[in-house]
């Protein structure tokens, strides 16, 4: 063996299922390292999403009723439920793919991997429907954001032209100076106020589901790469470990949605009344 193949490269072995990289002592050590590494990575992912959930909790705590009101009016619980079913099923097919890989039944591995990809694409399709509806209703935060609160008499635009100002406050002077609006205190009860909640809610909605969607797409890409490598008989995917780790990742993506769905879609105002008396 030459020095050039030392680090990270797999040792050629008669049995491809027993090959391991030269810097490990044995195959078992490599497998365990992969598993520990993947779980550690998932911990970082939990912290990644955890910060977003923290932000969500903070704002739900400030406006418990208002945010759930917006959620009830503008998020489609049924589409979210369908997506939950789709993603849970994809976790099943992923688990079947892992098991087939462990049993070395190659045909089934292909079948279940493609099934998982198909379900993931269905999930993204539903998300596309939901996103485009919000785009058409100008519910994407930004300069075009436009939200009419239920029962509000006048239309109020938040990031556009109209601004609710507190007369004589220092913020007004600041705004005038910079030509931008700047109000530290939410003006509760006004139309602008509920538009504020709405913009916060939709910001959280798009960031949380958007990052989750990116994770779904990355999972699909990883699965496609593994399928191509399997097709070309790459030694790197000769055993089940890459699929096992993709499975761990995929279940994580699934679990994130399990938390996102109730947090965002099932925030019902009646529940708030029930909880807060």
């Amino acid at each position: 063996m030459s020095v050039e193949t030392l680090h990270g490269e797999p040792v050629q072995s008669d049995d491809p299922h027993q090959a391991f990289a030269v810097h490990y002592k044995e195959r078992k050590q490599q497998d365990e390292s992969y598993i520990v590494g993947m779980w550690t990575f998932l911990v970082t992912e939990i912290m990644f999403f955890g910060a977003l959930f923290l932000a969500y909790i903070v704002f739900r705590n400030i406006w418990p009723g208002e945010l759930s009101e917006i959620s009830r009016e503008h998020l489609n619980v049924k589409l979210g439920f369908i997506n939950t079913l789709i993603l849970l099923t994809s976790s099943l097919t992923m688990a079947m793919a892992v098991q087939s890989a462990q049993r070395k039944i190659e045909g089934r591995v292909y079948f279940f991997m493609f099934a998982t990809i198909a379900l993931a694409l269905c999930f993204m399709g539903v998300k596309f429907v939901e996103y485009s509806k919000k785009y058409n209703e100008n519910h994407v935060p930004g300069p075009l954001f436009h939200y009419v609160a239920e029962g509000a008499e006048t239309k109020a635009t938040v990031a556009g032209v109209e601004v609710v100002k507190t007369e004589g406050s220092t913020e007004v002077a600041h705004e005038a100076e910079h030509g931008r609006k700047f109000s530290l205190e939410p003006v509760k009860g006004s139309a602008t106020s509920s538009a504020q909640h709405a913009e916060i809610f939709f910001s959280l909605y798009f960031i949380m589901t958007g990052l989750h969607g990116i994770h779904v797409i990355l999972g699909v890409l990883v699965m496609l790469i593994i399928i191509v490598m399997m097709w070309f008989k790459s030694p790197l995917v000769a055993d089940f470990m890459p699929i096992e780790m993709t499975g761990l990742y995929w279940h994580f993506v699934d679990i994130v949605w399990i938390f996102l769905y109730p947090a965002l879609y099932l925030a019902h105002p009646d529940l708030q009344k029930f909880l807060h008396g």
Binding site: M1, V22, H23, E26, G37, M47, A55, G142
Partner: protein
């Protein structure tokens, strides 16, 4: 016992044995290497470049502050310069400095492994670091950023006209690089230890890096998402920190400091690991209270996650919340003090010798002591109201980060330089540099405690004339400090060309890394070592085994051992 065929005879002296540096010289073999030692060297070069960039910015700051008026730079430029100094030094020098260079190089050697668990992930982390660094340099070239390294909203998201997005992507990439390093270290320390290398035989350097990796893995993702939210707010107007939308700018500070306070422990903990190694070696004594020092690293990592609010005493957070944060911040002093007391006890009745790494280590102890104790002032809420955002804070964190982390980094580089390069540097120059850095550092930053206490705010180019004396003192110290930092750059590089060849174990140290060749062979050990001894089994009465001449005279002290031959390592007393 090893499955790996030995591809050369370790005892043949007909031709030089291939080591990790000389087995190949092509650019491709360096840039596509999986070898943790080469990646460590790549990191060493990159962090040094960023240290120079950040250091130049620091000198600009000090020169501007010579006079009470802003006469060298405009106020706007000054903001950009101190921001560049902070961002480059923290994200691109301090955080990767010890873990990614010394940690990368030494952890597999110290635990008897051939490499880190994921060599290609390790290489990827360096590339991501380089991409982040490129963004940072581009942001500087395009005019820099004026938010300070903390990127506080709403200034950074709504008003700043600097290259905020580019700079944030730079920090974001640097963060991912450190996440990958952290994952790699955790898996390596769990799964790659040599036979017999139990957890409580690990060098304290490895314990410190384990604690550091936990912080990297748990904290960095939070700041990553926080910075992404800031970018989303600034460029896509998806805002939750924007008070205009009913968002909360203080939430940004909470999320930012949730990482960025533990991040100061990412900087100091590996340094504490380095100091434990150096103190034990140059006292010829087992470290006092090994398990206390080991667990105090974990305690610092754990407590570090619950003190972030002490950065925010003046933001209007709840008084009761502030009290809890204040008490928890005091508690971090306990494991820190355990370390310092144990180092002092190790020195006590030790056979102390003052080689240059030891000078850095002793300097670290003194400076960290001051830096740590002034931290207690700042975690006292009432005092902090007076000292918040003054030069007292600046002096405090420079004592910890520069006096602590950089002293430890330099001490570690000097200690392991013979192992890393196979060359001895000029010891006398190294001693002079260590003393210069210590004196220069104190001259720079001690006056800042005073001027800060008197009321000089940080981040200002203009100040009342009565403060000028202290600023001149500080700038003079900084000049000395800068010269001190330049010296190792000269004599360490010179040692590569004309330094004497280093023996495998120039300091007579007992760590596993000293049983590898200097420089180590491409896969570290000729045979997988089997560890049968405890950490730091120094023989205080034995021969010191210090390097005192060229290799030829010292050949017997060089040990090549393997599990099968069963020879005892140098400096290790026969029998247990």
């Amino acid at each position: 016992m090893s499955d790996i065929p030995v591809h050369h005879d370790p005892h043949s002296h007909d031709q030089p044995e291939p080591n990790y540096l000389n087995w190949s010289h092509t650019v491709k073999d360096w840039l596509l290497t999986g070898d943790h030692k080469r990646i460590g060297m790549l990191y060493l070069i990159s962090v040094t470049i960023f240290f120079i960039v950040g250091g130049v910015a620091a000198m600009f700051i000090r020169v501007e502050l010579l006079t009470p008026k802003a006469d060298l730079f405009s106020l706007e430029t000054y903001n950009r310069i101190f921001s560049a100094h902070g961002i480059v030094m923290i994200f691109f020098f301090l955080i990767p400095s010890i873990p990614a260079t010394l940690g990368n190089f030494l952890i597999p050697l110290m635990i008897g492994a051939k490499d880190l668990a994921f060599p290609r992930l390790n290489l990827l982390s360096w590339y991501i670091y380089v991409i982040g660094g490129t963004f940072a340099v581009l942001a500087l070239v395009f005019g820099g950023v004026d938010t300070g390294w903390t990127f506080y909203t709403p200034y950074s998201s709504m008003f700043s006209n600097g290259n905020v997005v580019l700079t944030i992507f730079a920090a974001f990439f640097a963060g991912f690089s450190s996440i990958f390093t952290g994952i790699n270290f955790i898996v390596t320390i769990h799964k790659m230890r040599a036979p017999g290398m139990t957890w409580f035989r690990l060098p304290l350097f490895v314990w410190a890096h384990y604690a550091t990796s936990l912080i990297m893995v748990l904290g960095t993702p939070v700041v990553a998402i926080t910075l992404l939210l800031l970018v989303a707010e600034r460029s896509l107007h998806l805002g939750i920190f924007n008070p205009n939308n009913g968002g909360d700018p203080v939430l940004f500070q909470h999320m930012f400091w949730f990482y960025s306070h533990p991040a100061v422990y990412i900087m100091i903990l590996p340094g504490m690991g380095v100091i434990s190694e150096i103190i034990a070696c140059f006292s010829r004594k087992r470290i006092f209270g090994y398990s206390f020092v080991a667990f105090s690293s974990l305690a610092i990592a754990l407590l570090g996650f619950f003190v972030w609010g002490h950065h925010m005493f003046t933001t209007g957070q709840s008084m009761y919340l502030g009290m809890v944060f204040s008490i928890l911040s005091f508690m971090v002093a306990v494991p820190s003090a355990i370390k310092v007391f144990n180092w002092a006890s190790t020195l006590h009745k030790g056979r102390v010798s003052f080689h240059s790494p030891m000078l850095y280590a002793l300097g670290f102890m003194g400076l960290f002591l001051i830096g740590g104790l002034t931290g207690l002032f700042l975690s006292t809420m009432g005092v902090d109201i007076h000292l918040q955002d003054t030069y007292f804070v600046v002096a405090h964190f420079h004592y910890v980060m520069v006096g602590g982390a950089i002293m430890a980094f330099l001490g570690g580089v000097h200690f392991w330089w013979p192992k890393m390069t196979g060359r001895m540097y000029n010891e006398n120059m190294a001693k002079v540099a260590a003393v210069m850095i210590f004196v220069g550092f104190n001259a720079t930053f001690f006056p800042q405690f005073i001027v800060g206490y008197l009321g000089m705010p940080r981040r200002y180019a203009v100040y009342p004339e009565e403060f000028q004396f202290w600023h001149i003192l500080s700038t003079m110290g900084a000049t000395l400090l800068g010269l001190g930092y330049a010296m190792p750059g000269v004599y360490l590089v010179a040692s590569l060309f004309n330094g004497k060849k280093a023996p495998a174990n120039p300091w007579g140290a007992v760590g596993l890394e000293w049983h590898a060749d200097s420089p180590p062979s491409p896969h570290n050990f000729h045979e997988t070592p089997i560890v049968t001894w405890e950490a730091y089994e120094y023989d205080i009465d034995g021969e010191a085994g210090m390097y005192d001449g060229p290799l030829e005279g010292n050949e017997e002290k060089r040990t090549n051992f393997g599990g099968e031959s069963g020879t005892e390592p140098a400096g290790h007393p026969a029998g247990d």
